[in-house]
């Protein structure tokens, strides 16, 4: 664990024209550990992630500081420059995240080209990445169009696209939403394995405490655009301080029956 955090967000505020959606969020994420950001939908988790890479929808404005490897990213261009090169990201609803008109190969090719990493062994590297995310026969994948694949497969292709660029840090925004249980388990195993093998740092955004318990080292709980509690996963599950966290955990235990 290095002394400077890989990704640090300080006093982040996001406004729409009429109201404040995220107010004063701050956290530090280090390499090799998974920071879980948990909260109900609408609590501002996804917006927080998008703002790191300057991906907020038009009409939303952000204030605050974002630092990567100790360097403050002051302007839009610097936050765009780290997209996928330093901070990879996988999104929810994988079925809608790929351009339906192009094959998976095109998606790989243009991504590598954008980062100046398109080389002669492109095909081989693509297959290696696909194999790593669990495709037993990776050569069948590149020729497919997105709509010919399942959500779970596409979610893993997303992970492969992040891996092939060798970004040291990954933001996973609700990586298991909209997947069936089997696919969920595969994606979680995959992410856990990547952390082990590559020492990836990860910001894991989810509303599912089960996912947090499975994957996270540290947890920050978001509610109403603010972080209301933070600690290690053991602290949060073992001894929740904030009333909202307690209710969240109680509800989760009630519905899942275990964990």
């Amino acid at each position: 664990m290095s002394s400077t955090p890989f990704l640090e967000v300080r006093d982040l505020q996001i406004h729409s024209a009429s109201r404040e959606l995220v107010s004063g969020v701050g956290f530090q994420a280090v390499q090799g550990r998974v920071l879980g950001l948990v909260g109900a939908s609408g609590s501002g988790k996804s917006l927080t992630c998008l703002s790191v890479l300057d991906l907020l929808p038009k009409g939303l404005r952000m204030q605050g500081q974002i630092c990567v490897q100790g360097v403050a990213l002051e302007d839009q261009a610097s936050r765009r420059a780290i997209r996928s090169s330093k901070v990879g990201m996988i999104l929810q609803n994988p079925m809608s995240c790929f351009d339906p008109v192009f094959t998976i190969r095109t998606h790989f090719r243009e991504t590598l080209a954008a980062h100046g990493m398109l080389s002669a062994d492109f095909g081989q590297r693509m297959l290696d990445a696909l194999r790593e995310v669990g495709f037993a026969e990776p050569q069948s994948v590149p020729g497919l169009y997105p709509f010919q694949m399942s959500g779970g497969m596409l979610q893993r292709v997303m992970v492969a696209l992040a891996l092939i660029l060798e970004a040291p840090f990954l933001i996973a925004d609700e990586p298991t939403t909209d997947l069936d249980t089997v696919a969920q388990a595969r994606v979680l195993d995959l992410l856990a394995g990547l952390k082990e093998r590559h020492g990836l740092g990860m910001l894991l955004v989810t509303h599912d405490l089960g996912v947090i318990a499975r994957l996270a080292d540290d947890v920050a709980v978001m509610h109403g655009g603010m972080i209301i509690e933070r600690g290690t996963v053991h602290e949060i599950f073992g001894n929740p301080q904030h009333e909202y966290t307690q209710r969240l955990i109680a509800t989760h235990l009630e519905f899942s029956g275990y964990n």
Partner: protein, 284 residues
């Protein structure tokens, strides 16, 4: 709310107000044509042939010495009346076929929709021409022809509205278990559907007007001496070198009137459509 958004909201309301005003003026002109028009639009006074604008004839007279202003004013009446009649027939047919199709479902639905498809297979204007060719020219036949070439589209839309209404009614029935169901339907489900239909009709009025005046221009629609803008342009075409105003004025009337209804339709759609609000852009 920022200043910019306030301006935008105000601008949107302003456009709606202007559009409503224009539509009211147009309809008012049609209704009160006899009061507004200074002369009988069909009065031929040959000594007034091509008379220049004067107090007596503000826009001058045409090649037969008829008062141009009066003809323009009565032309509004012809346009509005014919489109109103077309819309009435189209909605009647569309509602009947659409509702029966939507509620009956099954084979009847399929048959009716195939029937609609046949009408949608023809190029609209060409089919209208053919119908007039068979029925003969004249205002009534133009109304029938344009209505017959447009109804199928409405039948399809009304059917899809009925289907969505049906689905939502089922959901509602499950939720409220019978109590006040009719009331809720009338209050919450019907208004958006009716609003949608009103918007579609408003946007289509201009289109139908263009068809009527286009057919009349070709000599296939409203027959002279009845004052109609397309006929006026057709009458004046040989005088374009010497008296271009006789073409400019009726054409401008069509343009402005069609624009008024298009503007009204757009403004209505914007004020009913919440997707334009800035907040909706937020990714959940």
């Amino acid at each position: 709310m920022s200043l910019r958004d306030m301006f935008r909201t105000l601008a949107r309301r302003g456009v709606l107000a202007i559009a409503v005003l224009m539509a009211v003026v147009v309809c008012g002109t049609a209704v009160f044509a006899p009061v507004i028009a200074p002369h009988d639009p069909t009065d031929v006074v040959l000594e007034n042939k091509f008379a220049a604008p004067s107090m007596e004839h503000p826009f001058g007279c045409d090649h037969l010495g008829r008062d141009v202003l009066s003809r323009l004013v009565y032309g509004t009446r012809t346009s509005i009346c014919s489109v109103a009649a077309i819309m009435a027939i189209v909605l009647l047919l569309g509602f009947t076929v659409g509702t029966v199709s939507g509620y009956a479902g099954g084979a009847l639905d399929a048959t009716l929709m195939r029937f609609c498809d046949v009408f949608l297979t023809f190029p609209t204007f060409i089919l209208a021409m053919f119908l007039i060719g068979v029925l003969g020219t004249g205002m009534v036949n133009v109304i029938i022809a344009v209505a017959l070439t447009h109804w199928a589209w409405y039948a399809r839309i009304i059917r899809s509205m009925v289907l969505s209404l049906k689905n939502r009614e089922y959901v509602l029935a499950a939720k409220v278990a019978g109590t006040g169901r009719l009331q809720t339907t009338v209050r919450h489900i019907l208004p958006p559907i009716v609003a949608q239909l009103v918007i579609l009709c408003t946007l289509d009025i201009g289109h139908m007007m263009l068809h009527v005046s286009g057919l009349s221009f070709l000599g296939l629609g409203v027959t002279p001496p009845m004052p109609e803008w397309g006929v006026m342009i057709s009458d004046a075409r040989q005088f374009i070198w010497s008296h271009p105003m006789l073409i400019m004025l009726p054409g401008g009337m069509i343009f402005v009137t069609v624009m008024a209804f298009n503007l009204l339709g757009d403004a209505l759609r914007d004020s009913f459509d919440p997707a334009l609000a800035v907040q909706e852009d937020v990714v959940p």
